[in-house]
């Protein structure tokens, strides 16, 4: 049996205490232990961004984070973004602008864009491109994703 460790963390607003193998990755924990399969795995080595979640509000590749690193920290996944099944304005913008095709990159894209907009409420197109550069999308050609983020930014500015 691999070395076990007890991790005390918060996921999508809920406190979770579990004893786990110390080598367990955050991505495995979310998908297998908690059944939060909205976090996707496209490469398992930090190069596609599909597994992006927020750790203490900052985007990380959950396939690169070991569970001991999550001890006493807060995680937000795609399932935890909207309130009670409501979509966020950003998620709505993704739908309306046609930024979703196969959808496999989408949770990671939405998470990283959410961070981008929190940090920089009115980003330029260049800043958006920089902000999502670590997230691969093979379907959309990125154009409509950029439009969706611009739309959400505008919508937030108006409210």
């Amino acid at each position: 049996m691999p070395f076990q460790i007890t991790v005390d963390c918060e996921v999508n607003g809920e406190r979770i205490i579990r004893t786990l193998p110390a080598t367990m990755l955050l991505s495995e924990f979310l998908r297998q232990e908690l059944g939060l399969t909205g976090t996707k795995l496209g490469c398992n080595k930090g190069s596609c961004g599909a597994c992006t979640v927020l750790l203490d509000g900052k985007p990380v590749n959950s396939c690169l984070i070991f569970m001991p690193q999550v001890h006493k920290h807060t995680v937000v996944t795609i399932e935890g973004l909207g309130k009670e099944g409501e979509l966020t304005d950003l998620q709505k913008a993704f739908i309306e602008e046609g930024a979703v095709q196969c959808g496999f990159c989408t949770p990671g894209m939405v998470i990283v864009s959410e961070f981008l907009l929190r940090k920089n409420p009115c980003p330029t197109e260049e800043e958006i491109r920089d902000g999502i550069a670590g997230n691969l999308c093979r379907c959309t050609g990125y154009t409509k994703i950029i439009r969706a983020i611009q739309k959400a930014a505008k919508c937030r500015a108006e409210h």
Binding site: R31, Q32, G35, L36, T37, G38, T39, K40, L41, G42, C43, N44, K45, S47, C48, A50, T77, I78, E79, G82, G85, L87, Q91, F94, I95, E96, G98, V100, Q101, C102, G103, F104, C105, T106, P107, V110, I128, R129, D130, I132, A133, G134, N135, L136, C137, R138, C139, T140, G141, Y142, T143, K144, I145, I146
Partner: protein, 764 residues
């Protein structure tokens, strides 16, 4: 034509909500069923060799390992049925490429897999690997595949090329090369199989072609088709990569499930996915074209060699499509084309968006630009003088009676891009950053065409519920392209313009409709769309009769629009009539099979009605080449596509933008390398580079609609075309920028530097 209520509007995709909220279930997300086992593939370590023995004892003793399955355990046939039936499920006597599946380890938890796989000892006597199609084509070359090393030789013989060239004022020749392209769909291959209590098998997975998978699983297990149910899970991109490949691996997973009596799941890592699955065929072509001084083409010969890998799989079909598309969308009276698909000791190449056409479009469009240079003619003008128009005849002798929007795509693209001005500006660019602009015109045969005639049909079923909501089933699949939305809109329209919110598509399963063929060749909108239209009209007629009674007029005079049945000022809602039909036991469901119109092909002359209809496009790329670093940046890209009718314009734009970006990858960065020992050197996203948000230009999608009377509401398939011309247009733009001909894709910085003699030519 009647005003359309729903078709032609950009409604939100019905599948988007689940995808943005993380609730869409891809195969690896399916909740763990009880007793689920995990599978890991035992792969050949060498590209060619004879299997002498497989030692599994040590691996079997690893904690958690339940079973190790080899070829001799297969109860049915060791075969994946496809075109030539030469593709096996597990290698038994011989391995033909590095990474070829030899067996499968089945374990209680994924951690055991790697440990056990490392303990399997495969004893192989290596054979000399043939990695180049030129070596494999030599008459005395060792036979890689029992069928011989030349899988196919497709031909076109039209007119008389000798006299054609004799008539020509100018003759231009060129040799061109293209490399592999990896699909790099973001969801790695994942499949799950579960035995049913009645000696059957259920299979789930991300895939394009559930009926292919069904037939593979039935063949491997030796059971009837009605004992196999294949259910497509949400599919994270495919692009051709999930056409035939899932069949082989579903066969393996089903075999493992069959033996253990438990559910088994296989999910590839990215590396495994890249080494184990198909890719775009590398190609080598030699072209020669002749024209009169006014630019009129009089003759063309082309010889193309496609590197097919160790099994024929889809290569007969890919190379046939390459043949039909070889000479571009032009009128040419004298043509000779020879296309070969050749075996090598590499992973089988297969389907990839464009299916053999981006390679030949690149070659043909490059040689056209060389011709324009020689003629001192604007390259777009050269094309304008030669392109197919309505009533013209293709190089395969097919007359085009309708829906030829090519001229309009060319015109619109030229206008929107300001072609002439930019071309002039490019010529005046000086210094080390050189501007260039280039174009490509091309066509795409929609559907399976004459080569796939046997399987070219699709069934659909539609059911209106008592509350007026509607569900429909088809046998073609959604893999990201937007089919679900398009078909939902077609159903809503065909039922009288009801709200698309009333309509849902069921999950795609082999149990819902009969074998509807594969979801490839841009055929889903057109084939399933037509089947749905027929089924809907049957239901609507019955509803119209009931509405007529209510409105006191003959059914034929009832107008149905906006989801309402109307007679003068009186109108009744669709839902109300549905409810009444339901209560009066009027049947509210219907099924229909759409059979593709006839096609024909003569294998000796390459003449015939190759496809039922064609989509057309013009691409224009503007680039900047840094001659000091060799880096090419695409600045702007115009893509005009004749789609017949855009059922959902936003989805059409999405297909164009996505396809163009994949095409930019193909043209400028995606380079998959095979080492001398037959292994793929760069099977990950750090070393196989695909475009990111930082690499994309301003893309201008231009939609042209030249309706296809046979298509649903005039639509014809087009999903593949946006990628197809990019390599050609970008190569022409780069050639224009640097004043030297580009002859190879991808165009990497080192290629540019080699052209300027800053470094030596890279060896690929």
């Amino acid at each position: 034509m009647k005003e359309l209520d729903i078709v032609g509007k950009s409604i939100d995709r019905p599948d988007a909500r689940a995808k943005v909220s993380g609730r869409a279930l891809y195969c690896d997300d399916l909740p763990s069923v009880s007793g689920l086992l995990y599978a890991g593939i035992i792969k050949s370590p060498v590209p060619a060799g004879r299997i002498k023995g497989i030692h599994i004892e040590d691996a079997l003793s690893v904690d958690g390992v339940v079973d190790i399955v080899l070829a001799h355990h297969i109860p049915g046939k060791n075969l994946v049925p496809l075109i030539f039936d030469d593709w096996i499920v597990l290698a038994d006597k011989e391995v033909r490429y590095a990474g070829e599946p030899i067996g499968v380890v089945v374990a209680e938890h994924p951690r055991a897999l790697d440990i056990a796989l490392n303990k399997v000892k495969v004893d192989i006597e290596p054979l000399p690997a043939l990695l180049s199609p030129f070596d494999a084509m030599k008459p005395d070359a060792r036979k890689i595949n029992p069928r011989g090393n030349i899988f196919n030789h497709h031909k076109i013989r039209r007119g008389d090329v000798e006299s054609g060239f004799a008539e020509a004022d100018i003759v231009v020749e060129g040799e061109y090369q293209t490399g592999y392209q990896e699909h790099a769909y973001l969801e790695p291959l994942s499949l799950m199989a579960k035995p049913t209590p009645d000696q059957g098998m259920q299979v789930w997975g991300g895939m394009q072609c559930p009926f292919y998978v069904q037939s593979a699983v039935a063949t491997v297990l030796g059971i009837a088709l009605n004992k196999v149910e294949v259910i497509q899970t949400t599919t994270g991109g495919a692009f051709g990569g999930k056409e035939d490949v899932p069949s082989r691996f579903a066969g393996i997973v089903a075999l493992a499930a069959w033996r253990s009596g438990r559910a088994v799941r296989l999910t590839f890592s990215r590396e495994e996915d890249i080494v184990s699955t198909s890719k775009r065929h590398p190609s080598f072509s030699r072209y020669r074209i002749g024209a009169r001084r006014d630019g009129r083409l009089v003759a063309c010969t082309a010889e193309v060699i496609m590197d097919a890998g160790a099994y024929a799989t889809l290569s007969p079909s890919v190379s046939w499509r390459a043949t039909v598309h070889c000479c571009g969308p032009y009128r040419i009276p004298n043509v000779r084309v020879d296309v070969y698909a050749v075996a090598t000791n590499k992973v089988p190449a297969g389907a990839f968006r464009g299916f053999g056409t981006p390679q030949v479009i690149f070659a043909m469009e490059r040689v056209m630009d060389e011709l324009a240079n020689q003629l001192k003619m604007d390259p777009l003008e050269l094309r304008r003088r030669n392109i197919l128009r309505r009533g013209d005849t293709t190089v395969t002798g097919q007359r085009l009676p309708w829906s030829v929007g090519l001229g309009r795509t060319l015109q619109e693209c030229a206008k929107k891009s300001n072609w002439k001005k930019r071309r002039k500006a490019a010529e005046q660019s000086t210094g080390t950053k050189k501007r260039g602009i280039g174009c490509a015109t091309f066509l795409y045969g929609v559907g399976l065409g004459a080569a796939g005639r046997k399987i070219d049909r699709a069934e659909a079923s539609v059911q209106v519920e008592g509350d007026g909501s509607v569900r429909f089933s088809v046998g073609t699949t959604e893999m990201g392209q937007g089919m679900e939305s398009v078909l939902t809109q077609i159903v809503a329209e065909a039922l009288g313009g009801i709200s698309p919110g009333l309509v849902t598509m069921t999950e795609v399963s082999t149990s819902r409709v009969q074998d509807s063929g594969p979801t490839v060749a841009s055929r889903a909108t057109y084939m399933s769309g037509n089947a749905l239209r027929i089924a809907c009209s049957q239901i609507l007629n019955r509803m119209r009769a009931v509405a007529g009674e209510r409105l006191h007029i003959p059914a034929s005079r009832v107008v149905v629009t906006g989801g309402r049945f109307k007679a003068g000022t009186e109108e009744i809602d669709f839902r109300e009539i549905a409810c009444e039909c339901f209560e009066r036991h009027v049947p509210l469901s219907a099924r229909a099979l759409y059979d593709s119109p006839p096609t024909s092909w003569d294998a000796e002359t390459g003449q015939g009605k190759a496809y039922v209809v064609y989509s057309y496009a013009t691409h224009i790329a503007e680039v900047e080449v840094d001659t000091e670093t060799g880096i090419v940046s695409v600045l702007r890209f115009w893509a005009a596509h004749d789609v017949g009718k855009a059922v959902n314009p936003q989805l059409v734009e999405g297909q164009i933008e996505g396809g163009v970006v994949q095409g930019i990858g193909y043209a400028l960065m995606e380079s998959l390398l095979t080492a001398n020992d037959g292994h793929i050197l760069n099977p990950d996203f750090e070393t196989y580079i695909i475009p990111t948000s930082k690499d994309i230009p301003e893309i201008y999608p231009i939609i042209v609609e030249s309706p296809y009377p046979e298509g649903p509401f005039g639509a014809k398939g087009f999903g593949e075309t946006p990628l197809m011309g990019c390599g050609a247009a970008i190569a022409n733009a780069v050639s224009n920028a640097i004043g030297r001909p580009i002859t190879r894709l991808p165009i990497l910085p080192e290629d540019i530097l080699a052209l300027f003699k800053i470094c030596s030519a890279p060896n690929r």
